[in-house]
């Protein structure tokens, strides 16, 4: 009962492993799967550096057991870009200088990604609230909010284009 076989889809790929009951999802991603883009910034579920998408929702992977991810679909920062093309949130963070040291960035990106899925045209206040589970020490958040606004606009424009085709 202490070792469990799990099957998890990560960034579109099926991954299987035997994991200890107590293995945290963030360690499963980083250590077992070698996906070190997701970061660990705290041990009290405050900082959000570990944020990933699980079955469509942004969650803190440090507060979830790997066994809980059995049968689920995960998206990590490594899965955002498609065929070498950056996702609009990634582009936004680069264009608007939404990062300095880059440590909080993967978590911020995943939360932004989820936020824009839920709310494609968020106000500044909605963005601030949306990232209230993600801490940053370097940027003071202003450029992160601008990055998300940039991505929001880009995504709405390209959706509008798709619709007019």
């Amino acid at each position: 009962m202490s070792l469990h076989h799990i099957v998890v889809t990560v960034n579109g790929e099926k991954r299987e492993a035997e994991v200890d009951s107590r293995l945290l999802l963030v360690h499963f991603l980083r250590e077992t799967l070698g996906l070190t883009g997701t970061h660990i910034g705290c041990d009290t579920s405050n900082c959000g550096a570990c944020a990933v998408i699980m079955d469509g929702k942004a969650v803190k992977s440090c507060t979830i057991l790997a066994v809980q991810a059995d049968g689920k679909e995960l998206l990590t920062v490594e899965g955002l870009a498609k065929n070498g093309k950056l996702h609009p949130v990634q582009e936004g963070f680069l264009k608007k200088h939404g990062l300095q040291c880059g440590f909080c960035t993967p978590g911020m990106l995943m939360t932004s990604y989820w936020l824009l899925q839920k709310n494609p045209n968020p106000t500044e206040a909605e963005i601030q609230r949306g990232i209230s589970g993600n801490l940053c020490r370097c940027t003071g958040y202003v450029k992160i909010v601008e990055a998300i606004q940039y991505a929001s606009q880009k995504m709405r424009e390209s959706n509008a284009q798709v619709q007019t085709k």
Binding site: T38, G41, F103, T105, C136, T139, G140
Partner: protein, 675 residues
């Protein structure tokens, strides 16, 4: 677009915890639950009976002065702060290593800790064999007499201790392969770490190599030598296996050097027209349990800055630092400059109130259009033109009329001594650059590319800025104190010019293409004799919301950073620094109870600000006509200017005199304020 930043948004960062080496061990520390105790017995683990090194003071704010008190890497007789390491355990697996902590048995005999720095002055020494708890005591300036009919104002101020809290905790991987020790580090300075490891462990320089990996912020916490680094190196030397140690956030809160922690009693003397005559200051620095970090250096350093940019003709400062049973005090963004600025700026506001004058008007009466040397030795370039511009650019008059605003101004002394090194090497059509200071978010790669491309005429695309590596750069200082663009940049430029000289001798007239076709390698250590100032001013407004909760509404900055190589980067730095300043004023405190137990158990409790706490920012960069090509440093400017301006704004809003950071809600709460 920076390749570095692109790599980071793709999730391809390589931080220390991302490094995996074959056969690697995970290290965990067993720590004292008591703030002060005699260690009666340690059973198990690697402990002080085996590891007998004492820590040395290196990095920012380090001081050779006082090694009178030994700071053992693993405590064996006494522990003097909660969290002090007593033993180490390890395993191949992080989870098993964590389990092993419980296998170590330590018997403590608790002693009464000294927590309050004023109490430390009076109480018996916490370290056996010392005469008192005073680490350093400095007197600056001279006593003076004050003419009659002068106004005298006395006030006490405090900046309570703050937890640094970069998003990436500290960590390293150490690997001794039998002949050399290689350390991969999250650091501000590979050379400080190397110096510290060599000195502490008695290793010769050729035996140690320190390499910087991506570093997730530091803010002062990652240049000193800490016990865990030495234990990791020791364990690797013992086992010949790579050893990884990564700090948990809980450990960071508890045992990474904290910042600020300074109190001041200031007495100002001025005539009734607002012209200041003299200043007397008594400073007390809460240095924590051991003299590493900044504790020994801080008193003199803060003390000499407490006259700010003002033309005091007389000053006397007595500054002390004391041992307390807390984690040692270290540099934290600003590292003494914000404390000095807070004390003098608050004092000038209160003097203005006392005289019934406008605070900017009083300041303008006390700055000069000429260079000025204070009675404490602080050299200021002409400040008056800057202050006049600042008041204008920040629209002070109008804003002061309309609401509760605070204004501040300051002279930032960048830490340019002793200088910095850089190496530029051209080979195979590429230009590789190494800088002595290790970036941790400041975008050195961007800075280096601009300067090198300017000097050598080569395209930025062929320039590669390498991470710090003591094998690739023979000496270096570090990234802190708003210094890198000035001295790091200076070194880069000199290294490029050295190459140009060599190229001229070798090739005669040459094109930049020709440069790339040949090989050159130049390393330079650049120092600047004359001190340099960076001036700044802030205007901050605040309001009270639901339940009397204060928020900062607007934060305006007018900074003279000299030559700005990358405006987007500088703006980002200013916003980030301002966020930390707002944290200091409203949310952050490393609060201890009377047993020396840290009450902040999480980042949230330590007070990290969030996006919704941020004000509207307006940032204006002054053009410095006196030396337009000289960068002046700006990284720490917000931590100097924003706290006193914010506190003043809140003071006006609440009509209460406010002399401390943080401003705690209960200190200003009033049912009238809560709408």
């Amino acid at each position: 677009m920076s390749d570095n930043l692109r790599r980071l948004v793709e999730g391809r960062g390589q931080f220390v915890d991302d490094l995996h080496l074959p056969n690697m061990l995970h290290l965990k520390l067993v720590r004292s639950p008591y703030a002060r105790a005699r260690v009666a017995k340690v059973k198990g683990g690697i402990n002080g009976s085996e590891v007998k090194f004492d820590l040395v003071s290196v990095g920012e704010g380090a001081s050779d002065e006082t090694q009178t008190v030994a700071y053992p890497v693993l405590a064996s007789d006494y522990v003097n702060y909660a969290g002090q390491p007593v033993a180490a355990v390890f395993a191949e697996d992080l989870y098993k290593a964590t389990d092993k902590i419980e296998e170590v048995e330590v018997e403590y005999e608790p002693l009464k800790p000294v927590v309050d720095p004023e109490e430390a002055l009076r109480s018996e020494p916490i370290h056996p064999g010392t005469k008192s708890n005073i680490i350093s005591s400095v007197q600056l300036g001279k006593d003076f007499r004050v003419p009659n009919a002068y106004v005298e104002l006395e006030e006490e101020f405090a900046n309570e201790r703050i937890i640094t809290d970069p998003l990436e905790p500290r960590g390293l991987v150490a690997h001794f392969d039998g002949s050399r020790l290689t350390v991969w580090a999250s650091t501000q300075s590979v050379h400080s770490w190397k110096e510290g490891i060599c000195d502490c462990m008695g290793l010769s320089a050729d035996k140690v190599r320190v390499i910087q990996l991506d570093t997730g912020g530091a803010f002062g916490s990652k240049s000193s030598l800490y016990p865990e680094y030495v234990v990791a190196c020791y364990l690797s030397m013992k086992t010949r296996r790579p050893v990884k140690w990564i700090e948990t956030r809980s450990e960071h809160l508890l045992v990474t050097h904290q910042g600020r922690g300074t109190r001041a009693k200031m007495r100002i003397f001025a005539d009734r027209t607002g012209v200041v005559y003299g200043l007397k200051g008594d400073l007390l620095v809460d240095a924590g349990a051991y003299p590493v970090g900044m504790g020994a250096f801080a008193p003199g350093w803060i003390g000499f800055q407490v006259t700010g940019p003002y033309t005091f003709s007389h000053a006397l400062v007595n500054a002390k630092s004391v041992y307390t049973n807390k984690v040692p005090l270290g540099p934290y963004r600003g590292a003494g400059r914000p404390e000095a600025a807070f004390f003098i700026e608050r004092m000038m506001d209160l003097l203005a109130d006392e005289l019934g004058m406008d605070p900017v008007e009083v300041r303008l009466k006390n700055v000069s259009g000429e260079p000025f040397v204070s009675p404490l030795g602080l050299r200021t370039e002409p400040f008056k033109p800057f202050l006049e511009s600042a008041a204008r650019e920040l629209d002070y008059q109008n804003r002061a009329r309309k609401g509760a605003v605070g204004f501040s101004c300051f002279v930032l002394i960048p830490a340019i001594q002793p200088g910095e090194s850089a190496r530029v090497a051209i080979a195979k059509g590429k230009v590789k650059v190494w800088m002595g200071g290790c970036a941790h978010g400041q975008g050195h790669d961007i800075l280096a590319k601009v300067l090198v491309s300017e000097e050598l005429g080569v395209p930025e695309a062929c320039i590669e800025v390498e991470k710090g590596d003591t094998d690739q750069l023979s000496e270096g200082v570090g990234t802190w104190g708003s210094r890198t663009t000035i001295v790091g940049g200076g070194a880069l430029v000199q290294a490029c010019r050295k190459i140009k000289d060599e190229a001229k001798k070798a090739l005669g007239d040459y094109s930049s293409d020709a440069l790339l076709d040949h090989e050159f390698d130049a390393e330079v250590f650049f120092s600047r004799r004359e001190p340099l100032n960076s001036f700044g001013a802030n205007l901050v407004s605040a309001s009270a919301g639901e339940f009397g909760v204060i928020r900062i509404d607007e934060c305006m900055a007018y900074y003279d950073a000299g030559r700005v190589l990358n405006p987007a980067m500088v703006e980002s730095q200013i916003i980030g620094g301002s966020a930390q300043a707002i944290g200091q004023v409203l949310y952050e405190e490393a609060k201890y109870d009377e047993d020396g137990q840290l009450l902040a158990a999480t980042m949230a409790e330590a007070g990290m600000p969030k996006a919704q706490h941020m004000p509207r920012f307006t940032i204006k960069l002054a053009t410095n006509t006196s030396s337009p090509n000289q960068p002046r440093g700006v990284g720490e400017s917000p931590t100097m200017g924003v706290p006193p301006a914010a506190v003043r704004a809140i003071e006006k809003l609440t009509r209460r005199k406010l002399t401390e950071t943080p401003i705690r809600p209960e200190d200003i709460s009033s049912k009238k304020l809560a709408k």
